[in-house]
C-alpha cells in the first residue's frame, strides 16, 4: 500500500527530511567502520597530526602489509573461520535433529522442553568460565579449536533450534507423509524432503550461529591463550605490544576482520533480519 497519505506528507513533507533521516541512519551504522577504514590508510605521522585529518592525505596500504606481517593475522582469520564454521556445522546438525523432534514428533513435555531451551538462551555463559576452564583442562582441550567449538555450539543452539522449529512447523506435514508413502524412511524424509524445504531457515540459523561464533571474545581469550590459536577478535585486541599501541596497524587488522562478516551481511541481509526476528536473539 502507498504511504503517501496527506498526513504523512504534512509531517515528513517529502524528500529533504527523509533524505536527512536516511543519512543519519546510514552514518550511525557505517561511520565507525568508515572511520577505521580511513585510519587504516593513514601513515603513523598523519595520525599524530593536530588537528586530526579526516580523509587520508596520502592513502597507503603499508599498514595492511604490517598487519599481516607483525602478527599472524592470516592465522587468526583462519582460526576464527574454522572455529565459526565447525561450530556452525555442529550447531545446525544438532539443532536440526532437535527441532525436527520438537516440531513433528509427539513428545510428552514438548512445551517444557521448549521453555527450557528459551531459558538456556538467556544463560550467562560467562559464569561458567571456571567450570568450563576446568573441564577443558581436564579433557586436555585448552588451546585447541574444540575448546571453543563446543561452547559456541551451545551458545547458538537455543536460537537455532527455535528458528528451525518455526520453519519446520511451516512445512506441510503431507509432504513428508507422501515421501514416506513413496518409500522414504522417516529420517530419509527428514533429510531429503524436510531439510531442503527448510533450507532458508537452516541458512538463517547458520548465519546467526556463524556471527555468534565469529564475535565471541571472552572464552576465546580465556581458553586459547596460545597466540597461534587465537581468534580474530582476541588476536587484534592483543595487538598492542608490551610497549606500543600501533593504531594504524590495528585499524587495518580491524578492517580485515570486518570485511568477511560485512560481506556475509550484505549478501544475506534479508535472511539475517528474518532470522533475528523469528526468534533469533543476540545482544
Amino acid at each position: 500500500m502507498s504511504h503517501d497519505t496527506p498526513a504523512n506528507r504534512s509531517l515528513f513533507s517529502g524528500k529533504p527530511l527523509r533524505i536527512l533521516i536516511g543519512f543519519v541512519l546510514v552514518m550511525n551504522g557505517m561511520f565507525p567502520a568508515l572511520w577505521i577504514l580511513f585510519t587504516s590508510l593513514k601513515t603513523e605521522t598523519e595520525l599524530t597530526l593536530k588537528p586530526i585529518t579526516w580523509l587520508p592525505h596520502a592513502p597507503t596500504i603499508a599498514n595492511y602489509l604490517r598487519a599481516f606481517t607483525d602478527q599472524p593475522l592470516l592465522l587468526f582469520l583462519f582460526n576464527s573461520f574454522m572455529v565459526a564454521l565447525l561450530s556452525t556445522a555442529l550447531t545446525l546438525f544438532v539443532s536440526v535433529l532437535a527441532a525436527y523432534a520438537l516440531a513433528r514428533l509427539h513428545i510428552r513435555g514438548r512445551d517444557l522442553i521448549l521453555s527450557a531451551i528459551i531459558a538456556v538462551s538467556t544463560f550467562p555463559l560467562v559464569t561458567l568460565l571456571v567450570p568450563l576452564f576446568e573441564i577443558m583442562r581436564a579433557l586436555n582441550l585448552l588451546n585447541t579449536w574444540i575448546a571453543l567449538i563446543l561452547p559456541y555450539t551451545v551458545l547458538s543452539l537455543p536460537v537455532c533450534t527455535l528458528i528451525l522449529v518455526s520453519f519446520f512447523e511451516g512445512i506441510p506435514r503431507d509432504l513428508e507423509n507422501s515421501a514416506m508413502i513413496d518409500g522414504c524412511t522417516r529420517l530419509g524424509a527428514l533429510f531429503k524432503v524436510v531439510v531442503p524445504l527448510a533450507a532458508p531457515g537452516v541458512f538463517t540459523a547458520g548465519i546467526l550461529a556463524f556471527v555468534n561464533s565469529w564475535d565471541e571474545f571472552l572464552l576465546a581469550l580465556s581458553f586459547n591463550s596460545n597466540p597461534m590459536l587465537r581468534t580474530l577478535p582476541v588476536g587484534i585486541t592483543l595487538y598492542q605490544g608490551e610497549f606500543a599501541f600501533p593504531w594504524p596497524v590495528i585499524s587495518a587488522a580491524l578492517v580485515v576482520g570486518i570485511v568477511p562478516v560485512a560481506v556475509l551481511i550484505v549478501i544475506f541481509q534479508e535472511r539475517v533480519v528474518s532470522g533475528l526476528t523469528s526468534g533469533g536473539i543476540k545482544g
Binding site: R137, F243, A244
Partner: protein, 419 residues
C-alpha cells in the same frame, strides 16, 4: 601431534632396548621465548648449542606481546599440565609463583652441592629472585632495571646536575620547562597506566624510604610510606611536572615521548637506551642515564627487571632441558646476548668484559643501577598483588582517589590476598 607421538615411540624404544647409546636418542626441546626480547638473537644462541650437541634439537615458540599475555599463555599450558613446552622464559616476578604452583623443576639435583657457589656468580638480586626456600627454581636469562634518563643537553644548558632526589628532580624540571617555554616539553614521564610498570612506579619511592611490602611471605605494609609514595607522583602531576593524562601513559609512551624530544626526565627500562641512540631518535647523543633519585633522606632504589629460564615440571626431557638452561644462563651466552641483543648481563663480570664495553659502552653506567635494584615482592599470589598496586596507582594519578584513600584501599586489598 605427530612429533609428540614419534617422540613417545622413540622414548619407548629407548626404554625397551636399554642398550641404546645416548648419541642415538634425539631430544627435541621446545623453548618459549618472549617476543619482545629478540627471539632472533636467542635463536642464534640455540643454534650454537645444537652445533655442540647434535642429539638435541631446539624449537622456539614465541607469542604474546606483553609479560601479562605471556603469563596468561603459560598459565593455561601449565594448568593443563601440557608437556609440549620444556623450557620457558619467565619475567623475574614469576619464578617464585611457578615454584609454589609446582610448575617448574628445581635445579638442585643437577647442581648438587655446588648450588650455592653456582648461584653466587650471578648478581645477588638474581640469585635471590631465583631461589625459593633454598631451592634454585630458575636460572637468570638476563638482567634489567629501571633507570632515570635525562636530557644531557638541556641540563648542561641550565647548569643543572642530574638530580639525586625526587625533590631536586621536581625543582630542576620546573626550572627547565619554565625557561624553555616549549609547551610540548614535559618535565618527567613515567608509567601511570595500570600496567606492570606502575607497580614499579609505586615501589620506587616506597623502597627508597627503606620499606618492604612483603617480608618472609607476610605483608609488611607501611601505610605512611605508601601515602608518601602515591603523593609524590600525584604532586608531580598537580605541579605540572608530569602531564595531566599520565594515567594513560605506558612504558613505550614514555619512550616515544622522550625520543621525540618532548621529555626532560624519563623513568624507563634498559631497552629505551638503544632506541634513544637509534637513527630515528631526535635525542641521539643528548641522553644521559643515571640511577633513579631517592626520596629526601632515603636510599636510591630501582626496580629489578630481567627474565629467567625455568624448566617445566611437565616436560618429558627435564634433564636435557636443565642442561640446556645451564648453557643459556652461562657467562658466555650472557656476553653473546649483551653484544648482539643489548640485553643486560646477569653476571657482574660481564659488564666489564672488553668486548661488551666496546659494543655497548653505556653498560658501564648500568651496572651500579642494576646492583641497587630491588626485587618486587615474592609471593605465589603476585598477580593479585600486582593488580592491586597498579590499579591503585592508576586511580590516584587519574584523580580517582586521594593518596590516603588509595593507600587505605591498597592495604585492605593486600591483606585479603596475603591473608
Amino acid at each position: 601431534m605427530m612429533s609428540k607421538k614419534t617422540m613417545k615411540l622413540l622414548l619407548a624404544g629407548a626404554a625397551l632396548t636399554l642398550t641404546a647409546s645416548a648419541a642415538m636418542a634425539q631430544t627435541n626441546l621446545r623453548v618459549f621465548v618472549s617476543s619482545q626480547h629478540r627471539p632472533d638473537v636467542w635463536r642464534k644462541a640455540f643454534d650454537m648449542y645444537e652445533a655442540k650437541n647434535p642429539n638435541v634439537k631446539v624449537t622456539i615458540e614465541t607469542g604474546g606481546n606483553t609479560s601479562e599475555a605471556q603469563a596468561q599463555y603459560l598459565n593455561t599450558v601449565m594448568t593443563a599440565k601440557d608437556s609440549s613446552l620444556d623450557v620457558m622464559i619467565l619475567d623475574v616476578i614469576r619464578p617464585a609463583q611457578y615454584a609454589a604452583a609446582g610448575w617448574t623443576v628445581p635445579f638442585n639435583d643437577v647442581l648438587g652441592a655446588d648450588a650455592d657457589s653456582y648461584m653466587k656468580r650471578y648478581l645477588p638480586a638474581y640469585a635471590e629472585a631465583n631461589t625459593v626456600d633454598g631451592k634454585v627454581v630458575a636460572l637468570p636469562a638476563f638482567a634489567d632495571a629501571m633507570f632515570l634518563y635525562y636530557r644531557k643537553d638541556l641540563l648542561e644548558k641550565h647548569g643543572i646536575q642530574p638530580p639525586q632526589t625526587w625533590d631536586e628532580l621536581a625543582v630542576a624540571a620546573k626550572k627547565v620547562t619554565e625557561s624553555e617555554k616549549d609547551p610540548n616539553l614535559q618535565g618527567l614521564s613515567f608509567q601511570g597506566k595500570a600496567i606492570e610498570g606502575a607497580v614499579c612506579t609505586f615501589l620506587l619511592p616506597y623502597w627508597s624510604m627503606g620499606r618492604q611490602l612483603v617480608s618472609n611471605g607476610k605483608l609488611s605494609f607501611d601505610k605512611e610510606a605508601a601515602v608518601k609514595s602515591l603523593k609524590l607522583w600525584k604532586d608531580f602531576v598537580d605541579q605540572g611536572v608530569a602531564k595531566k593524562n599520565i594515567a594513560e601513559v605506558a612504558t613505550d609512551d614514555t619512550r616515544k615521548e622522550f625520543q621525540a624530544g618532548n621529555v626532560l626526565f624519563a623513568v624507563n627500562w634498559s631497552y629505551a637506551w638503544g632506541q634513544f641512540q637509534g637513527a630515528e631518535s631526535a635525542v641521539k647523543d643528548k641522553v644521559g642515564v643515571v640511577k633513579l633519585p631517592a626520596v629526601q633522606g632515603g636510599q636510591p632504589a630501582s626496580c629489578l627487571g630481567g627474565w629467567e629460564w625455568g624448566v617445566s615440571a611437565y616436560s618429558n626431557n627435564k634433564t636435557e632441558a636443565q642442561k640446556f638452561v645451564q648453557y643459556l644462563s652461562s657467562p658466555e651466552t650472557s656476553e653473546f646476548m649483551a653484544i648482539n641483543a643489548a640485553l643486560l648481563p646477569q653476571f657482574p663480570d660481564v659488564y666489564t668484559d672488553a668486548d661488551v664495553t666496546k659494543a655497548v659502552p653505556w653498560f658501564a653506567n648500568a651496572r651500579p643501577v642494576v646492583e641497587t635494584a630491588k626485587a618486587r615482592p615474592v609471593t605465589p599470589r603476585y598477580n593479585e598483588v600486582s593488580d592491586i598496586i597498579r590499579t591503585t596507582v592508576n586511580a590516584v594519578l587519574a584523580g580517582q582517589s586521594t593518596p590516603e584513600d588509595g593507600a587505605t584501599q591498597m592495604e585492605g586489598r593486600l591483606r585479603r590476598v596475603l591473608r
